[in-house]
Symmetry: C2
Subunit: 484 residues, 2 copies
C-alpha cells in the first residue's frame, strides 16, 4: 500500500502544473506531439516490468494487460499524430470585410488553446487505458494541458511506477517540469478538485462517486467543466428475424460480451431483449454454464457485485436462468421490468445480465423508451428488418452515444470517429467523448484574435501558415496561405 | 405589462417542445435551414411594427434597434447557410479496418445530433440580438433543438410580438408545432429549468443571476449544460508608444466605446490602463464632457448603475475625473487598484469607466495578472512594440476569449471565426461561444454509428453522401463518396 500524498506534496504538484501551463500552451503542436510520443515509447519499453505489477494488483490476465498497454500507447500516438496534423486546433480565419453589413467586419482568427491544469480521476477496470496513462491523460496532454492524475486505489503500485516512467520520459523529451504528476488519496483528490489552479476534471467510475465529484466541480467559487463517465446498461435489442437467422451466433456473442473481463466493462451489455418465443433459453443456459470463473479486480468490487446481483435476484418477476462459476443470467419480461423499472435498470458491475422477453413491436418501442442515457445501444437485425430499423435507430440515438448493428458493445475502437459518451447518467457532459481524437476538445477553449498584426500572431494563425495546419479561411478549408 | 405564463401554459409549451424534438432531429439540414430563413424573412418584414414597441420598452434609439434587427436576421441566415453547407454536423467516418492493431476496427460514423428542447433566458440590453430572436435561439434552432425563450421582463410586449411572428413563420414554413415557444415570469423560468424535458439552457445577464441559475441546472437530478454569459470588464492596455503615436485617437475611441449605447454592452471597456505621464487627462475630461445624456434600459438598471458608480467612487484611491450628463470617468493607480482589487474589478453596467495609471512593464504584467476571466482584452500598441506584444498577447489570451489589437471591444462581429466567451466569470462554459457559427455546438451531441448498413444510416452518413456535406473520411475532408 502506498501512502496518501501529503499536503506539501500536493501543493508542489499543483504549483508545478500551474507553472508548466503557459509553457505547454506556448509549445508548438509538433513539439507537444514529440513529448507524447516519448511517453508512448517509454511505456512500451517497460511493459515487461509493469504487467506483473498490474497482474498482482488487478487480477487481470497477462494477455489482456499487454493488449491494454498497446491500446494505451497506440492512443497516445494517435493524439500525437492528430496534433501534428493540426485539425485539433480547429483554426477558423475570417479576413476583414470592409463592406460587410450591417457593419464592417474585422479580421478574426480563432484557435483552440489549452484550458490549463487538468485533474484526472483514474478508473479501476482499465489500469492502463483508463488510468494513469489513459485516454483522459492522453487527450489533455494533446490539448496542451498539464495533467495531475488521482491514482485509483485498486492499483496503487502500478500507478506510481507508470507515473515515474511518464515523468522521466517527459523530462528527457524536454517537456516542462510539472507537465505530469500523480497524487494518491480520496481526500487529496477532493482538495485538488477544489483548487483554483485546476481548470477541468475527467472521471471514470461509479454513478454515486461521479455525481458527488461533479457537484463539487460545478459549484466551486469558480466552476470548472467536469467530464464524468458514470454508468451504463448498454441494452441489446434483437428482432425476430435476427433470432431466426442467427440465434446461435447471438447467444455466443452475448454471453461472450457480458462475461468478457469478468463483466467489468462500462460497455457490458446488461440487458438482452428477445422476442417472445425466441427458443434460445437452453442455448443461453448452456453457454453461461461454460463460462470459466474469473477473479474480480478487488474485494470491494466483488462485494458490490455480489450485493448487486442478489438485489436483482430479489426483484419480483426476475428469475435466474443460469449461474455458473463465472456468470449469472437472469430473466424477466418487459411487463415485469416496467413494474420495477428503476430497480431492474440499475447497473450491476460484473458478470451478470438480464434477458428481457418482449411481445411485438409496440413492446420493443416501450422497452427502448424505458431507458435513461447509455454509452451504447445495439440492434441485432436482418436486412429484411430495414423498415423496422429505420424507425428504431432514431429511438436508440436518443438514448445512447454509440449505436451498433449486429455487434457487441464491449470493445471501443480508438479512432477519429469514435464517440464514447451518452446522455446522463452514462456520462456527465454528453456533448463530449472520452475516447477518440475529439476527446481533446474537452480541454480546449477557443480564442479569437481581432486585427492582430501578422508578425505578432501565434504561428498557426499567420497568413503564411508556417505550420501547415488545416484552416477554414473565409469558409474554405485548406492548408494554404491567407491572401489579404 | 404582460401576465406570467400559467402552469397549464408552461406544461403545454414543454410538452409541445418535447414532441417537436424528434421531428426536428429527423428533418434534413436544408429543411431546417428553410425554417430559419423563414423566421428571418418574417422578422425583417415586421421591423416597422416591432421597432416602436422596442423603443417604448427599452428607450433605445430607432437606428440602433433597426440595426439590431438586421444583425439578428443576418445571424439567422448565417446559421441557415452553415446548416445547408453541412460543416455544423462535424461528420467523421472511419471505415472498417480488419488489419488494425491491437484489434480490428469496425466501421464508425460520427455525426452531431440535437440535444433536445433548449431553454433560453433572454437578455435586457439587446431586445432582438440577445433576446427572443437572438443568438441563443438561432444557434439552438440550427442545432435542431426546439427552443423555449424565457422573456426578459424589460421588454415583455416586444417579446410577445416577436414570438408571435416567429411561431407563425415557423408554422407557415412547415416546422413542427412546438419548435418555438415563449414563457414569462421569473418563477416560471426556474420551473422550466428544472423540468426533465429541458436538455440545455442559455443565459445572458448578471453574475448573481447567472450563478444561481447555473447551480440549478447542474445540480438537477439529471444535470444539463448551462451556458451563461455573465459579466466582463474588458480591460484595454495602452503602451507608451501608442500614447505617443495615437493619443488623441485612443481618447476618442475609448470614450466612444465605453459610452456606446449608454454603456449597456457586455463588452464595454471598464478599465483603460495608461502609462504614467500619458498626458491625456485633459483630452479625456473634454471628451467625456461632450457625451450626451442617454436613457438607460429601465429604472432597475438605472438604479443599479447609480449604486455601482457610487460604490466605485467611494473606493480609497479612486477619484472622479469627469462626470457629464451621459458618462462618468474615474481614475486610480495600479498600486491603489491592487489594494482594493476585488472592489475595483467588479463590473458596473452603464456609462462609467476607470483610467488606471501604471508605471513600467512590470506593472503592466501585474495589471494583466490581476484580472479574472473576461470576454475581451485589448492591446493598444505600435509596430515598434512587437517584442512587448509577443510577450503580452499570451498573458491576455489566458484572461480572455477575444484579444484585440488597436480596436475597441464593443461591436461583436457575427461570423465563423467569432468567439464570444471567456474564462469565468465572464462566462460559465468558456469552451463554447454564444456568438458565431460555432455557437450551435453547445446544443449538439455526437453519436457514433457502428457497422450500420448503408441503407439504414442517416442520409448524411451514407456512402454516396447524398446531402453533399463535408466529411472527414479516413482522415481526409471531402464532400465526395465513401469507398469501401
Amino acid at each position: 500500500m502506498t501512502a496518501d500524498t501529503t499536503p506539501a506534496e500536493l501543493e508542489q504538484a499543483l504549483a508545478a502544473a500551474a507553472t508548466a501551463a503557459p509553457a505547454l500552451a506556448a509549445a508548438e503542436p509538433a513539439v507537444r506531439a514529440g513529448w507524447i510520443n516519448a511517453v508512448a515509447d517509454a511505456l512500451d519499453a517497460v511493459a515487461d516490468d509493469l504487467v506483473p505489477i498490474a497482474m498482482r494488483e488487478t487480477s487481470l490476465p497477462e494477455a489482456r494487460l499487454r493488449g491494454e498497454i498497446g491500446r494505451s500507447t497506440g492512443q497516445l500516438r494517435m493524439f500525437a499524430d492528430a496534433l501534428a496534423e493540426g485539425s485539433l486546433l480547429e483554426v477558423i480565419i475570417d479576413t476583414a470585410d470592409a463592406g460587410a453589413k450591417p457593419v464592417p467586419r474585422p479580421d478574426l482568427r480563432r484557435v483552440l488553446v489549452p484550458l490549463g491544469p487538468v485533474l484526472v480521476f483514474a478508473a479501476s477496470n482499465f489500469p492502463f487505458a483508463f488510468s494513469t496513462c489513459g485516454g483522459d491523460t492522453a487527450s489533455a496532454l494533446a490539448a496542451g494541458c498539464p495533467v495531475i492524475v488521482k491514482a485509483h486505489p485498486g492499483h496503487p503500485e502500478l500507478s506510481v511506477q507508470t507515473a515515474a516512467v511518464m515523468v522521466e520520459a517527459l523530462r528527457s523529451a524536454g517537456a516542462p517540469e510539472g507537465t505530469f504528476g500523480l497524487i494518491q488519496g480520496f481526500d487529496v483528490g477532493v482538495i485538488a478538485l477544489k483548487d483554483p489552479r485546476i481548470t477541468a476534471a475527467g472521471f471514470t467510475g461509479s454513478v454515486p462517486a461521479g455525481k458527488a465529484l461533479h457537484e463539487i466541480a460545478v459549484t466551486r467559487p469558480e466552476p470548472i467543466p467536469f467530464y464524468g463517465e458514470l454508468g451504463s446498461l448498454n441494452p441489446v435489442f434483437v428482432t425476430p428475424a435476427a433470432v431466426e437467422a442467427r440465434g446461435k451466433e447471438i447467444v455466443a456473442g452475448y454471453v461472450g460480451s457480458f462475461t468478457l473481463g469478468v463483466g467489468q466493462f462500462c460497455t457490458k451489455p446488461g440487458l438482452l431483449f428477445l422476442p417472445d418465443g425466441h427458443g434460445l433459453r437452453d442455448q443461453l443456459v448452456e453457454a453461461v454454464g461454460g463460462v470459466g470463473g474469473g477473479t474480480m479486480l478487488n474485494s470491494r468490487i466483488k462485494e458490490a457485485f455480489d450485493t448487486g446481483r442478489d438485489r436483482l435476484h430479489k426483484i419480483e418477476g426476475v428469475v435466474e436462468w443460469a449461474s455458473g462459476g463465472g456468470a449469472t443470467l437472469l430473466q424477466t419480461t418487459l411487463a415485469d421490468l416496467m413494474v420495477a423499472r428503476s430497480e431492474v435498470l440499475e447497473e450491476c458491475f460484473g458478470p451478470v445480465s438480464i434477458v428481457v422477453e418482449y411481445d411485438g413491436l409496440d413492446e420493443l418501442r416501450e422497452a427502448i423508451a424505458a431507458f435513461d442515457g447509455n454509452l451504447t445501444a445495439t440492434l441485432q437485425a436482418e436486412e429484411s428488418d430495414a423498415e423496422l430499423a429505420a424507425e428504431i435507430l432514431p429511438l436508440l440515438t436518443e438514448k445512447a452515444g454509440r449505436v451498433l448493428w449486429n455487434g457487441w458493445p464491449t470493445g471501443v475502437a480508438v479512432s477519429w470517429a469514435q464517440h464514447h459518451g451518452g446522455p446522463f447518467p452514462s456520462t456527465v457532459g454528453s456533448i463530449h467523448t472520452s475516447v477518440g481524437v475529439t476527446a481533446a476538445r474537452r480541454f480546449q477553449r477557443p480564442v479569437a484574435y481581432q486585427d492582430i498584426p501578422d508578425a505578432v500572431l501565434p504561428a498557426v494563425l499567420r497568413d503564411a501558415n508556417p505550420l501547415g495546419v488545416p484552416r477554414r479561411v473565409n469558409g474554405v478549408v485548406s492548408t494554404g496561405e491567407v491572401e489579404r
